[in-house]
Symmetry: D3
Subunit: 247 residues, 6 copies
C-alpha cells in the first residue's frame, strides 16, 4: 500500500467553499453551494398543507428530495425520471438530508405546514450529500426567516445550525472533505452531521476497504468537527447577506 | 376583451438573452442559456456506442432529454424521478428538441456514436422548450468541435445553425418571446424552430383560446423569424468564446 | 432526388373516407372512421364527475386517450399495457386530440361533467392522429346531442366543427392526406387541425428531412384547408344519420 | 330464490355467433368474432424469432395477449396502458388463451418461431375470454396455413381444433353461453375449453355464489360440450372462406 | 410413454401434512402449513376499515395476497418487490385464494371490516396454491374466533370449512397431491377447492400435455375429494389446539 | 424527561439469541435468526454468473436483498411486491447488508460467481437490519463452506466474521440491542457492524431526538462491541452444527 499524499491542500483543510444565497430568487429560500468542483442548488419551498399522516397533530414537517443532473458526473449517468425510479442511493441520501434538518427544528413550533427542501447536484466531485445538508440548512433558514418576517411564525423554531462534511482514510492518511478520486480510493469514509454546539446528529461510516478501530474513528470525528465549524462560518456569512437584502 | 400592452419591452423584442458557454466544464459541451428569467442548463455528452436499433447502419444519432428542477416553477412542481415517470409534456418537449437538432446534422457523417443532449430548467418563466433548443445547439456544436479537434471527425456534420422562439397573440396583440404570464393568458401560442437560412424545421401552433387565420399565422412567423436571427447572433458569440478557449 | 408520383389518386385528393356512426351502440357516442386503410374507433363517454383540479370551477372538461391495437401496424408493435407505460408518441397524440376538441367547446356551458374520448386504432396506414380528431368530433357531438335531448344541457356548447388532416412534401411534391409509405419517405409533414370557419386550431409541422420555406408552408396549409372542408361534409353526413335514428 | 327464466333463447342455446375472417387483412391471420353483443378482434402475428428462454430448443411457441377497449364495457373502464399495468384478470385471461392454443399445437413441428395472438375486446357482454379462445384458433390456423402455403412448414402442426364456452347455473337453472347480466348474477360459472375430439383442455369453475356438486358439474360440462361442437362448425365455416380466398 | 410409478407413497395418498397454528403469535390468526417439503406461512389480519368500493354496503370482505421467498424454489427466483411487479401467476393465485375463502363466508354477517390473508411460501415443492388455501382457512377461522370471543361478532359467519388439493395424471397414472417433479412432468393437473360438505368451490384443470376425458376428470375429482377430507381433519386438529389455548 | 428503566433484562444485555442453521435445507446456506421476538430467515444462493458490470474482472460479488412479510409487523404493512416498489428504507437496509458482508470477503478469491443473500423478516420487533447481518454471515459462510468442500474454492475467502447490533439512548440510559418500543422512543440509535477483531465496518448513528456527544458515542460503541462478541459466539455455535452435519 502506497501512502497517499494530498497535494492540492493540507490533509485537514476543506476544499474552497462558496455559498451564493438567493440563487433562485423566486423560491422561499435558496443557495448554490460549491465545495471545490461539487456544486449543488439547494432550495426551500413552504407548503401550507401537510401530508395526510401528519395532519391534526399540531406540528409541522421538513422533508427533502435529492437529484443529480445526468451530466453532473464524469460519465453521464441515466436520468432517474426517465429510468422511472429513484435509485437506492438517491433515496438514502434524501432521507438523510430530511432527518438531519428535522433534528434542529422544533417541529411543534413550525405550525401546520411543511418545508420541502430540494438539493439538485449540477456538478459532482465527491461529498454531494454533505454539501447538500450544509446548503439545505441555509435555504431552510431563509424560508423560516421569511415566515417570521411575514408574521406567520412568532419564534424561530430552529434550535441551532447544522452542517455536514465527509472524512476518510486514504492510503493510511486521515483526510478532511474528500473529493471524488479520494472517495473512490478510500479505505473508509465517514459522513458526519453536526450541530453548532458540536453534537452529532448523524454519523455514517463505511469501510468496504479496511475496517477501522475506535481510535481511528475518534480521530476522524475530530477532523470532521473542525471542518464543520468552518462550514458554519460560511453558512452564517451567506445568511447575513440575505438579512441585509430583506432589511 | 381588453387589449394587452407589454410594458417591459417592445412587442417585437426578445427578452434579455445571455448564453454562458462551458457552464459545466467537465462535459463535452455545455452552456447556461438565460432568456429573461428563464434559465436552462444545456449539456452535450458524446457516447461512443449507439442504441441497438441504430447499430451497423453507418450513421450516428442525436437525442435529447429535458427536465425541470422541482423549484424552477412559481409553485414547486412534483419531481418526476420521485413520481416514477416523465409527464407527457416532458416527453413531448424532449422529442421536439431531438428532432430539431437532428434536422441540422448529417447523421451519416457523425460516425457510429450518439450525442446525448440534456436540457435542465433551473428557473422557468415561459419559453423553456425554445430556450432549450437554442442552448442545446450551442452545446451540440461544442461537442462536435471537440470531435473535430480530436481528429475523430474529419468534417463538421452540422449543416447550419438552429434556434427556436415562441410567438403568440395576447389580448389581440402579436408578441415575440412570451414570458410565463403572457403564455398563460394567450389566445394562441406558436413555437418556431428555424435554420440560419430562414427555413422552418418545426412549427407547433396551438390555439386553445382563439383559433387564428392563415394571415395571422404568417404575421407571427415573420415575428419569430426576426427573433431567431437575433438568437443566432447570441449563439455565434457564445461559440466564438469557446473557440478562443480551445485554440 | 427522384420526383414522387402518386398513382392511386390526385395529389390534392383525400383517401376514401367512411364514417360509420354508432359503431359501438352502448356508448354515449361512437363512430368507426376509415381513411383508406387507416381505421380508428372513436368513442365518447359522459362522466358526471370531474377530476379534482377542475371541481367547483363551474365548467366542464373534454379529454382524450389514444391507443393502437398491437396488430394494427405492418409489423406487430408491443402492447403498451404490457410494456407498462404509454410511449411519448401516444401521450403527445392524446394531448393533441384533447386540445383540439376543447378549442371548439365552450367548457363553461358544459356543466360540471367531463367527456372522455377514446381513439383506438385498429388498422394503421398513416394519418391516425388526424383521423382520430376527425372521428372524435363526431363521437363528441353525439354525446352532447344526447345530453341536450335528455334535457341535461339547454344549449349546444359546441362552437363549430373541427377536423384534421395531414399534408406533406414527398419527393418535392406537395400532397394531401399522406398514407404510411408517403409519410415515412416525406421531406416534411404537417398536421393541421381546423374549424369549420377555416381557422387554425393546431398546426404541427416537422421537417426532419428537408426544412421548408414560409411559401411552401402556405401552399401546404391551403391544401390541408381543402381536405378539411371535405372531411367536414363526411362528419355532417354521419351526424345526420344519428339524428334520424334518435328522432 | 326466484328461478331464472331466459327469454331470449333456450337455456341450451348459444348466442348468435358470427366469425368474420380476414378482419384485419394485413395481419398473418385475423377474425372478428361476435357472440351476441360480445365482439373480439383476434389476430395472429408470425414472429421469426423466439424469446431467449426458448432459443435452441428446436421448437416453436404460441403466446397470447388480451385487452379491452376502455369503452367496451357498459361504464367506461380505465385504460390499462394509462394505468401502467395489466390487471390480474387480464393476465389470467391471456395466460389461459396461450395455454389453450398450445395444447393443440405440436410445438416441435412449428419451427423456431413464435405466433403471437392478440385478442382485443371492442364490445363486452360476457364470455369475452371464451370468445377470444374460439376466435384466436381461427386466426392461428390462418397464420399456420400461410406458413404451409409459403413452404415454410411442411406439415400442419395443429392436432385438432379448440374452442371454448361458458356455462353456469343462474337461479338454479343450468345455462349455456352466459351473457353479462347472467354472468353477474350466477351461482356458479364454468369456462370450458375443449378439442374437436371432445376432450377437455381447460376447465375453470368458480362458485362464489353456491358451490356445486359433482353431478351438477357433469351436467354443465355436457351442456358446454354441445355448445363447443356448434362453435367449431362456425370456425370451420370461417376458415373455409379463407381457403377459398387464398386458392 | 413410460408409465410413472410413485415410490414414496401410494398414488392416492397425501404427502405428510403438518399444520402449526399460532406460528406468528402477534397476528390475528396464523399457521405454518407443511405438505411434504412445501411450507407456507398463512396469516390473517383484521382491518376495521373497508376499501372504498365496499363501504356502506353493510357487508365485510375477505381478500388474499400470495408471495414466495426468493430462495423458496430450487433455483432462486427474482424477488417480486425488486422486479417492481407481481407476476401473472402470483396474481392468479391470490385471486383464487380470495375467492375460495369468500365462498364459505357470509360476508353480510362479517360487519364492515375486512380480513386480509397473506400466504407466504418459504419452501416450494409443488402445490403451493392449494396448501395456501388449506392453511389460509385455519388463519381465517382463528381471526373470526377472535372477533367472536371479543364480542365483535355475535355469530360465526363461516358456513363450513374449505380446503384444496391438486390431482393429476402423470405417465398415465392418476395421482393425489403432486409434488414439484410430478407437477412438472404431468399430462394434466387439476386444482380442486371443496367444502366440508363435498361441494366444489373452484376447479381449475389444465392439460397442456394431454387433454383428458370427462371420465378421467371424474376419477380425478374423486381422488381430490378423498384428499380434501383428510386435509380437513388436519385443519380441525390445528384449530382445536388454538381453542384450548384461548380458553 | 423520565428516566427509562428496562425491566426485562440488564441494560447491557442482548435479547435471547437463537440461530437455527439449515432452516431451508435446499438452499446453499440458510438460518433462522431470532433475537427476542425478531425473527429473520437468511439464505445464501450461489450464482455461477455475474452481473454484466462485474464480468471479466477476475473477482466475485456478494449482494443482498431484504424484505418483510406484510404480517411481520404489529399492524400489517403493505406488501412491497403489490405496491410495485421497494421503499427507501428497504433499499437502504439491503445496501447495508451487502456492504457489510463484502467487507469481510476477499472478492478476488471468490471466483467469477456471486452469492445472493436474502433476508426475510417473518416477525419484527426492532433490530431487523442488525439481526439480518448477523444471520446473513452464517448463511454466507455455509455457502462458502459448500464451495470449498466441493473443491470449487481452494481457500476460504472470508477474512473474519462479521456481526451487527443496535445500541441507543432511551430516556437518558444507554442500552444494548433495542426492541421495537425502545427503538421508537429513543433519543438516538446507532447500528454497529463489527468484525471479530473488533474493528468497525459500518456505523450508522441517528439522533432525531437528541444529538449526542463524542463521549456518548464512545460509550455506545463499547456497549455494541460487547454485544457483538456475544453474537459471534452464537454464529460459531450455529456454524459448528453445520460442519458436523456435512462431515
Amino acid at each position: 500500500m502506497t501512502v497517499y499524499t494530498r497535494t492540492s491542500r493540507p490533509a485537514d483543510a476543506l476544499r474552497e467553499i462558496k455559498i451564493t444565497p438567493n440563487f433562485l430568487p423566486h423560491t422561499d429560500g435558496s443557495c448554490l453551494i460549491e465545495a471545490g468542483n461539487t456544486k449543488v442548488i439547494c432550495t426551500a419551498s413552504i407548503d401550507e398543507s401537510l401530508p395526510p399522516f401528519l395532519r391534526g397533530k399540531d406540528q409541522g414537517w421538513v422533508t427533502a428530495e435529492y437529484g443529480m443532473l445526468p451530466a453532473s458526473t464524469a460519465s453521464r449517468m441515466r436520468r432517474e425520471a426517465s429510468a422511472g425510479k429513484q435509485s437506492g442511493r438517491t433515496q438514502e441520501i434524501q432521507r438523510l438530508i430530511g432527518r438531519s434538518l428535522r433534528a434542529v427544528v422544533e417541529l411543534d413550533k413550525l405550525g401546520e405546514r411543511q418545508i420541502l427542501i430540494d438539493c439538485d447536484v449540477i456538478q459532482a466531485d465527491g461529498g454531494t450529500r454533505t454539501a447538500s445538508i450544509t446548503g439545505a440548512f441555509v435555504a431552510l433558514q431563509m424560508a423560516i426567516n421569511k415566515l417570521v418576517e411575514a408574521g406567520m411564525l412568532v419564534h424561530n423554531p430552529i434550535r441551532e445550525a447544522v452542517a455536514a462534511v465527509s472524512v476518510g482514510v486514504v492510503g493510511g492518511v486521515p483526510l478532511l472533505d474528500l473529493d471524488y478520486p479520494e472517495d473512490s480510493g478510500c479505505d473508509s469514509d465517514i459522513n458526519i452531521v453536526m450541530t453548532a454546539s458540536g453534537k452529532i446528529i448523524e454519523i455514517q461510516g463505511t469501510a468496504e476497504g479496511a475496517p477501522f478501530s475506535i481510535e481511528e474513528l475518534n480521530k476522524l470525528i475530530e477532523l470532521g468537527s473542525k471542518g464543520i465549524s468552518e462550514l458554519m462560518e460560511h453558512q452564517q456569512k451567506a445568511l447575513a447577506q440575505t438579512t441585509v437584502q430583506t432589511a
